[in-house]
């Protein structure tokens, strides 16, 4: 396991402990059914079905998420691990003007399509800024990416520019990313069996002089991986990948929606579409069914295309969480509470990734009032409340007015739902 994989595993373990200690979290075991097809020169291994079962689990909290998934062939004569993924996202900072996330992935791939084993990891630091005007929220961010393939330190400079708006309780985002290829890398015997992007696209000597341009599908490795026992040198000339994707996520009534669609392009002229649609239906505040279809985005170095379905349940401790899948933009508050002290009331909303939280209720004459950021993911308003029943709604970052999760709710005269609190 490379140093990057070790780092990822350690960071994931730390996040797991942190998330487990959080007040609100969602645990989502699921089973995926995927079908892989060869799209390149390399054919599937004889006797191995392209259909795989992918058990996995997703743990989410306001601070981040961890996704673990592995894949085994349905008809394998013996247990065979096709591949496994460990992905984590940790929100490092979140303020009114900026937010930063660390996205780390570790992947083991013994693809039935490639007949080659590999381990890779990547660490991305995403920093963006947000703002809101007239109910629209927008943002943009860039990130860098450092990968390690089978112990080879491969720096893949990547830039992602994303923007999002939030309306009607849904978050719409668009993302453009570009990756340039590494200039050169050196592989050894143990790691030479895996061929990453450079081998599939172009070759360049370690001296930096261009040798031979490889034509063909830029998404697939070369058909003949090196087998020499001597260290091999390989590299790439300036080929590039680009991806463009649109995503929508959020809540509509008791349904959670997370869908995206995009296209990957390589400078060789190859293009592949990808996308997913995952729906979550909350049956009760702590239990939901989830399911959907996924066509995975193209992965440089992989010869196959993977498409499949997903079935699972989601379990939430405490009030229902809004869906914020591994790569989804922030969308909602996680919990709320009210404390009464000396005739005053402090309404506190926990919104892990919000930059601006407002409240509107009968005690504000239904005008928006901004909550104070009191630290971490906590936003609060202290006000005097007359004894009796009061109703209010909250909104994050100029989004839709919604009841505060974790407090009693009722339907108002306008067929909306509002939070209800009783002042003593």
């Amino acid at each position: 396991m490379s140093v990057y994989s070790s780092t990822v595993v350690r960071a994931a373990a730390a996040l797991f402990v942190s998330a487990a200690a959080g007040a609100q979290q969602t645990w989502s075991p699921f089973i995926g059914f995927a079908s892989a097809s060869s799209a390149g020169p390399r054919q599937p291994m004889p006797g191995v079905s392209p259909l795989v079962i992918e058990p996995g689990a997703l743990l989410e909290s306001g601070r981040g998420s961890i996704l673990a998934r592995w894949s085994v062939p349905v008809t394998s004569p013996a247990f065979q691990l096709n591949d496994a993924d460990l992905a984590m996202r940790a929100r490092l900072l979140s303020s009114r003007l900026a937010e930063g996330s660390l996205v780390a992935t570790a992947r083991y791939d013994h693809g039935s399509l490639d007949a080659l084993a590999s381990a890779s990891s990547a660490v991305r630091l995403q920093i963006g800024t947000t703002g809101s005007t007239r109910g629209l929220q927008f943002g943009a961010g860039v990130d860098g990416w450092r990968s390690s393939i089978n112990g080879n330190g491969v720096v893949v400079p990547a830039t992602t520019i994303s923007g999002w708006i939030r309306r009607f309780g849904l978050s719409f985002s668009a993302e453009l990313s570009a990756r340039s290829l590494p200039g050169s890398s050196t592989t050894t015997t143990d790691t030479a069996r895996f061929s990453f992007i450079p081998d599939s696209l172009a070759r360049r000597s370690t001296s930096g002089t261009a040798d031979t341009a490889i034509t063909g599908n830029p998404y697939v490795p070369s058909p003949s991986p090196p087998t020499s026992s001597q260290p091999t040198s390989q590299g790439a000339n300036g080929r590039a990948f680009g991806e463009a994707a649109l995503r929508v996520s959020g809540m509509l009534m008791s349904f959670g929606i997370d869908g995206h669609a995009g296209i990957g392009l390589a400078s060789g002229g190859q293009a592949r579409g990808f996308g997913s649609l995952i729906l979550t239906k909350w049956i009760s505040p702590g239990f939901a069914f989830t399911g959907g279809v996924v066509v995975q985005p193209p992965e440089p170095g992989s010869s196959g295309r993977r498409a499949g379905g997903l079935l699972g349940i989601r379990l939430a401790s405490g009030p229902r969480l809004f869906p914020h899948f591994v790569n989804a933009p922030k969308v909602g508050a996680s919990s709320s509470s009210v404390r009464f002290v000396d005739g005053g009331a402090t309404i506190e909303v926990r919104a892990p990734a919000a930059g601006h939280v407002e409240i509107s209720g009968d005690f504000t004459r239904w005008r928006p009032v901004t909550l104070d950021h009191v630290g971490g993911d906590r936003w609060a308003l202290t006000t005097r409340l007359t004894p009796g029943l009061h109703r209010f709604v909250v909104r994050l970052d100029g989004g839709t007015w919604l009841p505060a999760p974790g407090l009693p709710q009722t339907v108002d005269a306008y067929e909306g739902t509002v939070s209800v609190i009783v002042a003593p």
Binding site: D362, R365, G388, L389, P408, D412, V420, V422
Partner: protein, 201 residues
């Protein structure tokens, strides 16, 4: 002296009316404002609380509801205020009427209010009615919540008892109990009588 007092009262009333108009004027269109003002004026003439009606109109504006929708919501609330006073009696306080209207709008039958008044003729029903509305908002079925509050009223529960009932039910629900079971269990600890044995109007 008496004349001066009346004049001052009229001035204060007119001032309050102007203030309410000003609050609504900025957020309602002219036609809706005129209709809502007529409804609030009716409430004022009938000595019904006006403030909840203004709140309903402001809430509708905040939710970008249509003028017709806002007018209907205010009209419905005015109807609930009238129904609450009819059920609670002409001597009911403004706070009782407002709380009773909230209960009626949550779907509880007016006979429940009459039953509570009969059980507690000389006590304010503001707190019991607020707790009743709160229990319903927390997911306690309407009949069960009405039974629980009626049982507490028959047992001469004090305001503190109702507040404790609300607090304990809240804790039980958070701990995982079903809202109905929590209400039935907790009211029994106050009255000693299972609320299921209480008649429901």
């Amino acid at each position: 002296m008496k004349t001066t007092t009346i004049v001052l009262a009229c001035l204060l009333t007119a001032s309050a009316a102007r203030a309410q108009d000003a609050r609504l004027r900025g957020v309602l269109d002219a036609e809706t404002l005129a209709k809502v003002t007529r409804l609030t004026d009716s409430a004022r003439v009938e000595s019904l609380p006006v403030e909840p009606l203004v709140g309903v109109a402001l809430e509708g504006a905040q939710r970008h509801a249509s003028g017709a929708r806002i007018t209907k919501a205010v009209q419905d609330y005015l109807g609930a205020l009238r129904g609450a006073r009819a059920a609670l009696g002409s001597d009911a306080s403004v706070a009782e009427i407002a709380s009773g209207a909230g209960v009626l709008l949550s779907g509880v039958n007016g006979d429940v209010l009459r039953q509570l008044r009969t059980a507690s003729p000389n006590r304010s029903l503001t707190v019991p009615l607020v707790v009743l509305a709160d229990l319903i908002a927390r997911g306690v079925p309407k009949d069960t919540a009405a039974r629980a509050i009626a049982a507490a009223a028959r047992a001469n529960a004090r305001d503190d008892d109702y507040s404790a009932l609300r607090r304990f039910v809240e804790q039980d629900i958070i701990a995982g109990a079903s809202p109905a079971a929590a209400a039935m269990l907790r009211v029994r600890s106050i009255t000693g009588v299972p609320p299921a044995d209480e008649p429901v109007p």
